[in-house]
């Protein structure tokens, strides 16, 4: 463990990765919320699928 501090390359790399991971995480959360299904029982038949 000779290197206690991060070098500038390491800092840049980690920040870039962190930024990308945060973007992907937000996108993943958004898509999950968008496609979330709250199922319920509806009275009466539904002969046609919704468009």
């Amino acid at each position: 463990m000779a290197h206690k501090k991060f070098s500038s390359y390491e800092t840049k790399l980690l920040f870039s990765l962190l930024f990308l991971a945060a973007v992907l995480f937000s996108l993943s959360l958004y898509l999950k919320a968008r496609d979330e299904v709250h199922l319920k029982v509806v009275e009466g038949p539904a002969r046609q699928a919704p468009s």
Binding site: Y9, E10, L18, L31, R34, L39, K40, A46, A49
Partner: protein
């Protein structure tokens, strides 16, 4: 001109070259080896044969025995084929190759080295029958076995001669059985099963749920007999030989012999052979006064194994074992900052403990990272908490090994009341399993990733290699963080990709005699209708869960139970345990069925939303799909059997529709017809596994007028489903294509709302 890497580790370079050649041959010249299979190989006789045959040969493996769910015994072994009698032939034919034999309740005990004649069915093993599931044919093929044999229950195997096997192997098997029995006598079934796997590589006694615990906590390597065992065996032997006045060379030779004997006892699995080769080369180096290059010994072990059995390259055990050792040797030093694993002799005990814990952490981290591309493609999960689990499990296993060694040395002569080793082992086992159960239940201990697309997988492998090799990163914490963030990004990218290019797909899984149909919808949402049987062979565990995991499914929007019969609900226990089920949907009927009570308890325990539905209702809120309920009717019909109360669903997507009928019987079909329900459908899941249709059943099929019919049915089931008359009725529907899960395997149907494309998953 020669790269430094090749000059320093020529054997490792040769092994990598051979691996690349094997991969090339496998994908571009897959039939290259077919010419080398002798023309009298048993697999040539097994193709298309369904009549019983007599097969003679020599037992060349240990005979494994296990209890079946129904209380019987099932024994299995590998037979070196010699002769084959077809029932219509009088003279035997010479046959070559090896066969995996399964016999039930054999009256005459069969053992390694026996020359036997057995009667039963010779078959080609089943390949992968469902997406994401185990491929038995490929697994056996890697061991050079191309046929399986299921013994006739009425015919006891005839032992012609005994002792035809290798003398040393016979003694090794006897020793293993002796040690195995000592563990069974001393410990309860679950603990004995675990200890047998740990010491003897015998996994048949391990309960499946217990095995899952190791997979989910990323500690499965403990159950694989590998370098850990070989290292510990060598250390123990050196320690025990210390007081003896013999030369160091003699001690080295003794340890060398013991390692290979142990390898024989535990049964020649890739990780232990790899470790034995490496240890042997290390010891030979010492004997000859030569310095050993560890990566080169690793390369040598790989070369020998691959030259003897090239297909081992595709074995998960082989891949994990070699990758982990390569990672430990090549990359751990750049995290710890030292080239050696052992601590400095002058350090205090505290310093040594800290050193070991730090080493252990980095070894676990490197193994987790470097094996991730293999584990995710085979087990479909990521286990971040395995780092913490290994910090507990590895030291405890080390103590278990030590107490185990004392147990094996003392159990046959020491009076029972003086034997402390079993007491210590039981205590360690409790601590061990208790810690793993806690780890498994911690949030985020493991999560389902799914099978990665090849591009994403290649990106993952390349990224891991880049961050491990990048010399600009000097700080080990920065390297570890970069790797962790990169893997997280790939997992997130996998999650995101599942929201795009997602077609409407129906998959009728091959769960034998039972039902399990999975729907995934284009604009989000999914639905699983039934989950196969659970008793005997749990289809939820072996088929439904791996299939869903391979697709990266974590949540099921609607788990639908068509009716409470074991072949439809048994597998739901696993599904409810392994996945987040948002809604449980069933028909509105009082179910006084024993099998259902367990599921009902789980639903209540997990506080699931339960939607009990009936004819005239529909399931709303799926974005692009409507699910209409056609059965059961609202009012109870006393005297009905449960089959007639089956939930009948019609899934509507665009202009296409899918009719799911559970096990609806004649009376139920008459009632649905009478109700005037719109049965016309593109796809029909044929009712009750294709049982015989009567007047109303035939009218039901004619009214449905499907273009595709799927019969979910088990091969050679005792009910003789599907009935020929039903198949005739189905085939009489103009333009109808009939699929059967027993012949066509899982059936996948993809639709864009205007047309459907169907396919049997594998042949």
């Amino acid at each position: 001109m020669i790269p430094n890497f090749v000059r320093r580790q020529p054997l490792l370079a040769a092994a990598l070259f051979l691996s690349a050649a094997i991969v090339f041959q496998n994908y571009f010249l897959p039939n290259l080896w077919l010419n080398r299979i002798p023309k009298n190989e048993a697999s040539y006789f097994a193709r298309g044969a369904s009549t019983p045959v007599l097969l003679g040969g020599v037992v060349v493996s240990e005979v494994e025995e296990r209890e079946t769910f129904y209380g019987g015994r099932l024994i299995s072994f590998i037979l070196e084929n010699k002769k084959l009698w077809r029932t219509d032939d009088k003279a035997p034919q010479k046959v070559a190759g090896r066969t995996k034999v399964y016999l039930s309740d054999s009256a005459e005990a069969v053992a390694y080295g026996d020359e036997v004649v057995i009667k039963g069915e010779l078959k080609i093993p089943k390949g992968r029958r469902n997406p994401g599931c185990f491929d038995k044919r490929a697994y056996l093929d890697r061991q050079g076995i191309r046929t399986v044999f299921y013994g006739d229950k009425k015919f006891s195997p005839k032992v012609l001669r005994r002792g035809r096997g290798n003398f040393i192997l016979a003694k090794a098997i006897e020793a293993k059985q002796f040690l195995s029995k000592s563990l069974s006598d001393e410990f309860d079934k679950r603990d004995a099963g675990f200890l047998k796997a740990l010491f003897l590589g015998e996994r048949s006694g391990l309960e499946e749920e217990f095995k899952d615990l190791f997979i989910k906590t990323g500690t499965m390597h403990i159950l694989a007999v590998s370098g850990f065992n070989i290292g510990f065996l060598s250390l123990t032997l050196f320690f025990l030989l210390r007081p003896f006045p013999v030369s160091i060379n003699f001690k080295l030779c003794f340890v060398l012999a013991a390692i290979w004997l142990y390898c024989l006892i535990v049964g020649w699995q890739a990780p232990v052979v790899r470790a034995s080769f490496m240890a042997s080369l290390f010891i030979l180096g010492k004997l000859l006064g030569r310095k050993t290059n560890v990566l080169n010994t690793l390369g040598f072990a790989a070369l020998v194994i691959l030259m003897l059995s090239p297909k081992q390259l595709f074995d998960v055990g082989f891949q994990l074992s070699f990758l982990a050792v390569f990672g430990i040797v090549r990359f751990v030093p750049q995290f710890t900052g030292r080239p050696q694993l052992l601590p400095n002799e002058t350090w205090s005990v505290k310093e040594k403990i800290i050193h070991y814990l730090r080493e252990l952490f980095w070894v676990s981290f490197v193994c987790l990272v470097i094996t991730f591309p293999v584990t995710v493609q085979n087990f479909y999960i990521a286990t971040p908490l395995s780092l913490a689990a290994n910090m507990i499990v590895v030291p405890v296993s080390f103590l278990l090994f030590f107490t185990g060694a004392v147990f094996f040395i003392t159990f046959w002569w020491l009076p029972k009341f003086l034997a402390l080793a079993p007491v210590a082992m039981k205590f360690l086992m409790k601590f061990f399993t208790g810690s793993l159960y806690i780890m498994e239940n911690l949030p985020g201990s493991y999560f389902i990733v799914g099978k990665l697309h090849f591009i994403l997988w290649a990106l993952l492998a390349a990224g891991i290699a880049f961050f491990l090799l990048d010399r600009r990163i000097k700080n080990p914490i920065a390297r570890a963080l970069a790797l962790a963030l990169f893997i997280l990004m790939v997992c997130l990218a996998q999650d995101i990709s599942r929201h795009f290019h997602r077609p409407f797909r129906m998959t009728a899984l091959d769960v034998g005699q039972g039902d399990a149909v999975y729907f995934e919808f284009r604009k989000g949402g999914n639905m699983l209708i039934d989950a196969g049987r659970g008793l005997g062979s749990d289809q939820g565990r072996w088929v439904v869960a791996p299939f869903l995991k391979s697709k990266g499914v974590r949540t099921i929007d609607a788990l639908v139970l068509s009716h409470p019969h074991e072949d439809h609900l048994g597998g739901m226990r696993t599904v409810l345990n392994e996945f987040r089920v948002k809604n449980f949907v069933d028909g509105m009927r009082p179910y006084n069925v024993k099998d259902f009570a367990v599921i009902e308890k789980m639903i209540r325990g997990e506080k699931l939303s339960r939607l009990s539905v009936y004819r005239g209702q529909s399931l709303g809120n799926f974005r692009d799909v409507k699910v209409e309920i056609l059965n059961p009717p609202h009012l109870a019909m006393p005297g009905h059997d449960v089959n007639n109360d089956s939930l009948v669903l019609k899934v509507l997507y665009g202009g296409e529709s899918f009719l799911l009928t559970g096990d609806l019987g004649e009376e139920g079909m008459a009632d649905v017809l009478k109700s005037g329900a719109p049965l016309e459908s593109t796809v029909l899941k044929v009712p009750h596994h294709g049982s015989k249709l009567k007047e109303h059943g035939e009218a039901f099929v004619r009214k449905a007028a499907p273009r595709i019919s799927v019969v979910s049915v088990g091969e050679k089931n005792r009910y003789k489903h599907p009935s020929p008359e039903t198949l005739e009725t189905l085939n009489a529907v103009p333009g109808n294509k009939v699929f059967r899960t027993d012949r066509d395997t899982a059936v996948e149907i993809v639709s864009d709302g205007v047309s459907v494309v169907e396919s049997g998953y594998a042949k």
